[in-house]
């Protein structure tokens, strides 16, 4: 799995906006990242950072009044005919709910939600729902599909899979439901699995089982995983690369080691420090991030993090939008602290001013 290979999915400058009655919400506002085969991309952020909307944009399942208004989502899908050909599909340009996007959902990209209870229909058995997902993409008869479903449940570590197939979602525990959800997402061996807060609703012991399962599955079939969570522990445990999001933008992006050992963006730093952790001495006052996340309609001008930033530079951060800067190792950061001094800021100012006048 060398990273030289073209990434499985390249997201460039993705913008998904919500046109609500109250105004425009820039839920995703210029997000760029790549996902590589066999790797796990962790996406961290708090509520309103746009991490879930990003995931939904990739599958084109954004609820109204949301719309992708810019950017590109390039999926590189190997042909099924055995040749080494790779099709480049621009997901952003596919027609809504057309045949192409429907074949991508499930077949190329699988999705696991936070609450499996609401993702399953309560009136159909788990088995029927998995079988349906299989038959949507594979020409299998009922018996073969059922066998495949049993196989999938076994793979995700469900004991007595034959019996479980005939159970209704509410008869299962949260952990089992999440496993079944993963089984369904894996039904057609997708190239990419998007897991949106897959363990948030679960207890820690169940969480560790699910995380281990995801790791094992990835090792076995080399799929890419996009893991969305607010839990930095889960990120540290699972991710190869990390995207830190704040108010719809990528604040910082790098390898997991860079993010945890050499964070650049003040938000990443503050986030890492403010979270209680069992390796710290108890009853010590934690460093905090002041204030709270702004309302999406009330987005601060300039850098979105500036009102809460400990390194806030008046006249710069609250006026201009920082550009994304890249280090030689490939770590991205969107912060004025890393521009080349005042001269650089002046140039920034000039371009920002020009853009504003357009």
């Amino acid at each position: 799995m060398s990273t030289e290979e073209a990434p499985l999915l390249s997201v460039k400058d993705l913008q998904t906006h919500f046109f609500t009655d109250e105004g425009l919400v820039r839920a995703v506002d210029g997000v760029t990242f790549d996902i590589h085969r066999g790797k796990t991309l962790g996406v961290v952020g708090e509520s309103g950072c746009g991490k879930s909307v990003t995931a939904r944009s990739l599958m084109r399942i954004i609820d109204r009044p949301g719309k992708i208004v810019g950017g590109s989502i390039m999926l590189r899908k190997p042909r099924n005919d055995g040749s080494n050909q790779i099709d480049e599909i621009e997901i952003g340009e596919l027609t809504d709910d057309g045949r192409e996007i429907r074949s991508i959902r499930g077949e190329s990209i699988g999705l696991v939600f936070q609450e499996p209870m609401t993702s399953f229909s309560p009136v159909h058995t788990i088995g029927n729902q998995i079988i349906e997902a299989i038959q949507l993409h594979r020409p299998l008869d009922d018996r073969a599909a059922r066998n495949r479903a049993t196989e999938l449940l076994t793979m995700v570590g469900v004991s007595r899979p034959e019996e479980r197939l005939d159970e209704l979602p509410f008869q299962m525990s949260g952990g089992l439901r999440q496993r079944a959800m993963i089984a369904m997402a894996l039904a057609c061996e997708p190239d990419l699995l998007i897991a949106d807060e897959p363990t948030t609703a679960l207890d820690v012991t169940t969480q560790s089982q699910i995380l281990e399962l995801l790791q094992d599955l990835q090792e076995e079939n080399g799929m890419a995983v996009m893991l969305i969570t607010h839990n930095l522990g889960v990120i540290a445990e699972m991710a190869d690369d990390v995207v830190v999001m704040y108010l719809g933008q990528v604040a910082e992006k790098g390898t997991v080691d860079e993010i945890f050992y050499a964070p650049k963006h003040p938000y990443t730093k503050a986030l890492l420090q403010s979270i209680p952790n069992i390796y710290q001495p108890s009853r010590v006052e934690l460093p905090t991030i002041s204030g709270s996340i702004p309302h999406p309609y009330n987005r601060p001008a300039g850098c979105p993090f500036h009102p809460r930033c400990p390194e806030f530079m008046p006249g710069t951060c609250d006026v201009h939008v920082p550009e994304t800067l890249v280090s030689p190792t490939g770590q991205h950061v969107r912060c004025f602290l890393y521009t080349e001094g005042a001269v650089r800021i002046d140039r920034e100012e000039a371009t920002a001013g020009k853009d504003a006048s357009q």
Partner: protein, 364 residues
């Protein structure tokens, strides 16, 4: 731009841990399982099954466990939002009298309620959207007939300042505030009657991670300032480790381990406690690795296994564990464990005084 600048020194811990404020003895709460048209009782869910512990005034005692372990039911029984099935809960009042909360009726509970308040998990559900902050914070004062309108207003403004909000916010409605700010309002309301014991039910789990630390710091500051006693109910061991003096671990309605925070985290004596800690992913990519993960699922409290409830999942289970249910005993001073093998097992906990974590290394 050294990140270390932000790390503050520990607060002057001026607390005095005093006498017992609450004794919970053999607390039980069973819920009947009813079936069929005639709602016949066919069984019981043993939500809280023989729980005994003492809370000392001025300390933070945490009840931890996974969902369904009975920690919330225990706290609701103590607050008498539920009537326990049996057992006693002796509350030592300010004036020295001792009242058994389990047997008290509504009018007997009234004066005790002033000394015992609650902080809720959900900052949205816990504030009435129709009321201003003044009405919300002033309600405990109003219903207890404390002060006139003017005095209540002053007190409410003072409480807002105490929890870090501006007194001008009194006329605002909850919808104007974020989750963290609402949680502060909830804390102000809990403080209104100068309580001695505060039951905090998952007070930070519904908040954004960047806001959790603010609330935890606030809770610790208020405790120092007013000598409050906290009964902290949580599932997040990191938060519990952070705030507690002593920790009680629950599993399927029972206490399985109870000790001082450091003893419990560094030297756990129950295999469940140890596995719980191992299950927490460390926020440090260099500490990855295969851990002893717990197999299986939490036992059903309606039909718990024989012997030790934990034995089907326990990596150290022996024959005795399947047959005899262990007693909750003090294996070391102040360290209670419910395990047959507590004295012989060497379990791993959190390594002591580990400062090489990602957090402190973030400036490298």
């Amino acid at each position: 731009m050294s990140a270390n600048q932000q790390i503050t020194t520990p607060p002057g811990d001026t607390r005095v841990i005093g006498d017992t404020i609450l004794e919970v003895n053999s607390l039980k709460k069973f819920f009947p399982i009813k079936k069929g048209f005639l709602r016949r009782e066919v069984g019981q869910v043993r939500a809280v099954d023989d729980v005994t512990f003492r809370v000392r005034s001025g300390e933070t005692l945490s009840l931890v466990g996974e969902s369904g372990c009975g920690k919330t039911t225990t706290s609701r029984c103590i607050l008498r939002a539920m009537k326990p099935s049996s057992g006693e809960m002796l509350f030592h009042q300010k004036d020295g009298r001792v009242i058994d909360l389990a047997k008290a009726n509504r009018s007997q509970l009234r004066p005790v309620r002033r000394e015992m308040q609650m902080i809720f998990q959900d900052p949205f559900s816990s504030l009435n959207p129709r009321m201003t902050l003044l009405d919300i914070i002033g309600e405990p004062l109003l219903v207890n007939g404390i002060g006139n309108r003017r005095e209540r207003e002053d007190r409410a403004a003072e409480l807002l300042k105490l929890v870090g909000l501006r007194p001008e916010f009194l006329s605002r409605f909850p919808h104007a505030f974020s989750g963290g700010q609402r949680q502060r309002v909830g804390i102000a309301r809990a403080l209104a009657l100068n309580p001695r014991l505060i039951v905090a039910d998952e007070p930070v789990s519904a908040l954004d991670v960047s806001v959790q630390a603010q609330i935890l710091n606030l809770l610790m500051r208020l405790q120092n300032e007013f000598g409050l006693t906290y009964l902290f109910v949580a599932h997040d061991l990191s938060v519990v480790k952070h705030i507690s003096d002593r920790v009680a671990v629950m599993y399927v309605g029972q206490l399985v381990e109870f000790a001082e925070t450091d003893a419990l985290f560094h030297h756990p004596k129950h295999p469940y406690t140890s596995s719980l800690m191992a299950a927490i992913p460390a926020p440090d990519p260099r500490k990855r690795g295969i851990r002893a993960r717990l197999k299986g699922e939490v036992a059903n409290p309606a039909a718990p296994p024989s012997g030790c409830y934990f034995h089907p999942r326990c990596p150290h289970a022996k024959d005795i564990c399947k047959q005899e249910s262990p007693i909750f005993e003090e294996v070391e001073p102040g360290h209670f464990v419910r395990c047959h093998r507590a004295r012989e097992l060497k379990l791993t906990g959190v390594p002591e005084l580990d400062n090489s974590g990602a957090v402190s290394a973030s400036d490298s």
